[in-house]
Symmetry: C2
Subunit: 180 residues, 2 copies
């Protein structure tokens, strides 16, 4: 039951990603507004009166945390979902403490985002805890994916950020996502 979430506010500095999300949300019957900084977010929030928002934590001009505070004040009832490149636990905790609905790491697809927004977090909690220790290869793969996403898929930049040679990154990317 898709509760009553219709109007969603998207805030991300990556116009491409934003637009892709917006299109996907439209396709699923949601109305989406886009924003990229403090001002446009405030304006869009006023206009749309959203029931939910998706905020990128790292924006060029301001912090997603600031936006979260602002939105929490102007639209206390809105479910605000935080998005970030490399999720750090400290960030996630701070966001939730301020009042974020939930917290996801990029790359997050529309399905994940909608699922996170529409179902109460405590129910969704698989309560699968520490359980399985991820393999080394898995950790590496996930981190590579995050950094890649964060650099817009630019291999050269990502390689430099990761501290490895571009050629090596290319070779790593050709391999498969490690099973576990």
């Amino acid at each position: 039951m898709n509760t009553e979430i219709e109007r969603i506010l998207l805030v991300d500095d990556d116009a491409v990603y934003r637009a892709r999300l917006a299109r996907a949300l439209h396709g699923r019957g949601h109305a989406a507004a886009e924003a990229w900084d403090m001002e446009s977010t405030a304006a869009a929030a006023d206009r749309l009166d959203p029931q939910a928002a998706v905020l990128d934590l790292k924006l060029p001009t301001c912090s997603g945390i600031d936006l979260l505070r602002m939105l929490k004040q102007s639209h206390p009832a809105a479910r605000i979902l935080m998005l970030t490149g490399y999720g750090s636990i400290a960030n996630a905790i701070e966001a939730v403490r301020i009042g974020a609905w939930d917290y996801l790491t990029k790359p997050a697809d529309v399905g994940q985002i909608l699922a996170a927004l529409t179902t109460p977090p405590d129910q969704r909690a698989d309560s699968g805890f520490d359980a399985t220790p991820p393999s080394l290869g898995r950790i590496e793969w996930e981190h590579i994916q995050r950094v890649m996403a964060d650099h817009g898929g630019n291999i050269s930049q990502a390689a430099e950020a990761l501290g490895i040679h571009r050629r090596t990154l290319q070779r790593k990317l050709q391999k498969f996502p490690p099973a576990n």
Copy 2:
């Protein structure tokens, strides 16, 4: 100012780690009680009436989340700090939502733990966001440390859990923590 936290409850299944923490806390003028499961936690909490607690999330007989709920009910004012091997963001969020004070990943030293307990999280928040993408080597090293801690320092088991050869883990461990 070390606020008014004096009596701290430690819950962890690893007796050695627990004892080490307890000693360190005593040395800093705190009173510590130890527990390792639901019953002993309830008993110790009754006896000590702690102002703070440190809970391991992964216990053999029960979940730290359950303990968190219990303690939150019996001692609502206590600051409860969650500890875990490989911190997953989902777990952290759930814990904080239930009422945990903060959330740290093992291996956490006494300094970190006390700092987390004595200073309000939102102040401590360096508001350092995504900022720097950790290097690949760094990620690997941190994950190795966690898995090692989780397996009680057993190289053979850790290597298997990590999906690498024991010999390789040995060699990796001889290297230094990557600069970044």
